[in-house]
């Protein structure tokens, strides 16, 4: 099949995913992943080089956006309580899933590390949606969960960038340029964005993309991954974006309209349904290897710091989606894991986005109104309440 024919199929799938997402109220990323699975398995497409390249870049853009979406002032207020929660939420499943993949499934050391990283994640977006939907994002418990999620994400990004480094001189410019961008970009952003921003030619988005490409190139040269610096760069610019929402929105429009659909479609296209079918037992065990340490590790801490909603907090901290997919795709692209291992990891990641969320919402969801009464000074539901007009 020609590359243009593949582009037509992908464009149709991207369009279909966005309309299905609106109709069903399910995240477009999940639909894109599902359509990617369908396209990859029905058409038996081999992904062209340009798709792999754009998907890799999209993964970095997603990571940057995740960093830029962190509420830094809120994290500063909550970090002491959230640090242990977020750290355990990363370390426990990372170690257990890695050990399980290595010893029980016989995966290579590097493949087991990818499994550990991919299954250690907590999805900030899934957590955020549940909290906003219930108004709990305005309460202390909601803010604490969001901060802990950031800690877990940071652990995942750090592990992905550090664990696979092959020492070479390129690591020095990679670290130096990363540090220079993280420190320098927030300093020049106000001037640059004021001088060149608010134009349809979008110099400010091009500045971010150029920085991310530079990080990707240096990361590649250093046999590392640009995930960590991209995440930290987003974090460094988060205050700027918090006061310049329009710029952030335009960046999101560009990312969501073109880049991120290719990332999730590419992820889905590499999932082999036949491999999953043949390994359903392994899939269940890997799911357990993510959930069991998350539940066992996070619950004792959550019971204290997020009382009386320990179970709800633990289940939300057990979700995963974007970083899990990014880690798995990195492993596949780098030749660390094969297609079957990738299919299993992505399937577990998707299951972990759905199953704990459903259980948390169905059985453990606290009422924001009760939370407000419990913790005076916080604002919760109703979102709007105007008495007597």
């Amino acid at each position: 099949m020609s590359e243009l024919a593949i582009a037509v199929i992908l464009a149709a799938a991207i369009l279909a995913a966005s309309t299905i997402s609106v109709e069903l109220g399910i995240s477009v990323a999940l639909i894109e992943l599902a359509l990617g699975v369908a396209v990859g398995n029905v058409f038996d497409l081999s992904a062209p080089g340009w798709l792999a390249f754009l998907a890799s870049f999209a993964g970095i853009v997603l990571t940057f956006l995740a960093g830029a979406e962190v509420d830094v002032p809120q994290f500063r207020r909550e970090w002491r309580t959230s640090l242990a929660l977020g750290a355990v939420s990363f370390v426990a499943p990372f170690l257990v899933a890695m050990a399980f993949a290595y010893w029980a499934l016989g995966w290579s050391g590097d493949a087991a590390q990818i499994a550990g990283i991919a299954l250690s994640t907590t999805s900030l977006a899934v957590v955020y949606a549940v909290l906003v939907e219930t108004g709990l994002n305005q309460t202390v418990i909601g803010k604490r969960i969001m901060s802990a999620t950031f800690v877990t994400d940071f652990g995942t990004a750090a592990a992905l960038s550090i664990l696979f480094v092959a020492p070479s001189l390129w690591i020095l410019p990679f670290i130096a340029v990363s540090a220079a961008l993280v420190v320098g970009l927030p300093l020049i952003a106000p001037w640059f964005f004021a001088r060149y921003g608010n134009r349809v030619i979008e110099p400010e988005i091009k500045l971010v993309f150029a920085s991310l490409f530079l990080l990707m190139w240096l990361g590649d040269k250093a046999h590392s991954h640009a995930v960590l610096p991209a995440f930290v760069l987003g974090l460094a610019l988060s205050n700027h974006y918090a006061t310049h929402r329009k710029e952030q929105e335009r960046l999101r429009v560009v990312a969501f309209a073109f880049f991120t659909p290719l990332f999730f479609l590419r992820g889905g296209m590499n999932v082999s349904l036949s491999a999953l079918w043949a390994n359903l037992g392994v899939l269940a065990l890997l799911f357990g290897a993510k959930m069991a340490p998350k539940l066992a590790g996070v619950y004792p801490l959550a019971r204290r710091s997020c009382a009386p909603h320990g179970a709800f907090t633990t289940l939300l901290m057990s979700t995963g989606l974007t970083f899990g997919t990014i880690s798995s795709l990195f492993g596949l692209e780098a030749g660390i894991i094969d297609e079957t291992q990738f299919s299993l990891l992505v399937a577990v990641v998707v299951l972990s986005a759905i199953v704990p969320t459903l259980i948390a919402q169905r059985f453990f969801q606290p009422s924001a109104a009760e939370e407000t009464l419990r913790q005076p000074g916080t604002i919760a539901e109703p979102v709007l309440n105007r008495e007597g007009s």
């Binding site: 997402s21 109220g25 399910i26 995240s27 477009v28 990323a29 999940l30 997603l62 956006l65 995740a66 979406e69 999805s123 900030l124 977006a125 899934v126 955020y128 949606a129 906003v132 939907e133 219930t134 108004g135 952030q248 929105e249 999101r252 990312a255 969501f256 991120t260 999730f264 989606l321 974007t322 997919t325 986005a353 759905i354 969320t357 539901e381 109703p382 979102v383 709007l384 309440n385 105007r386 008495e387 007597g388 007009s389």
Partner: protein
């Protein structure tokens, strides 16, 4: 039975507009106090980015802001005392809960009649009628 406190569930649909008009007329006629409750439906489930959630949330806030402002105008024109509430969550569950909180003695809501969904899952009106602790008026 004299109704002193009426709860009208609104969502901007034609059916809900008809229900609110009926509730307003009734409240005006019998001098009842009226509460308009709008329930913000779910955000994109299992989102991959915070941006996706924020965008939908912003759209919903804008939509319901306009809806509630219009509702307040209509009530002011009719000379009816009105509270408006916007809450996130599950529609049927919240309508029943807010009715109990407000000690409403009548719930008024519309029926959109989505054949397939109603047949498979039951409508919001069906569920409210089943679980409410007060009379329910369903306006078609």
């Amino acid at each position: 039975m004299p109704f002193r406190r009426i709860l009208a569930a609104i969502d901007g649909s034609e059916a809900s507009d008809r229900a609110f008009a009926t509730a307003l007329e009734l409240a005006q006629l019998i001098g009842a106090r009226l509460t308009a409750l709008a329930v913000e439906g779910p955000l994109p489930a299992y989102a991959a980015t915070v941006g996706e959630v924020e965008e939908v949330k912003r759209e919903k806030d804008a939509f319901f802001g306009r809806l509630l402002a219009r509702t307040e105008r209509q009530a002011a024109e009719a000379g009816v005392e009105l509270d408006v509430e916007l809450r996130p969550g599950h529609a049927a569950e919240l309508i029943v809960r807010v009715a109990a909180e407000k000690q409403a003695d009548l719930i008024v809501l519309g029926h959109k009649g989505h054949f397939l969904r109603d047949h498979l899952l039951g409508s919001t009106a069906d569920r409210v009628a089943e679980h409410a602790g007060c009379p329910v008026m369903i306006v078609k």
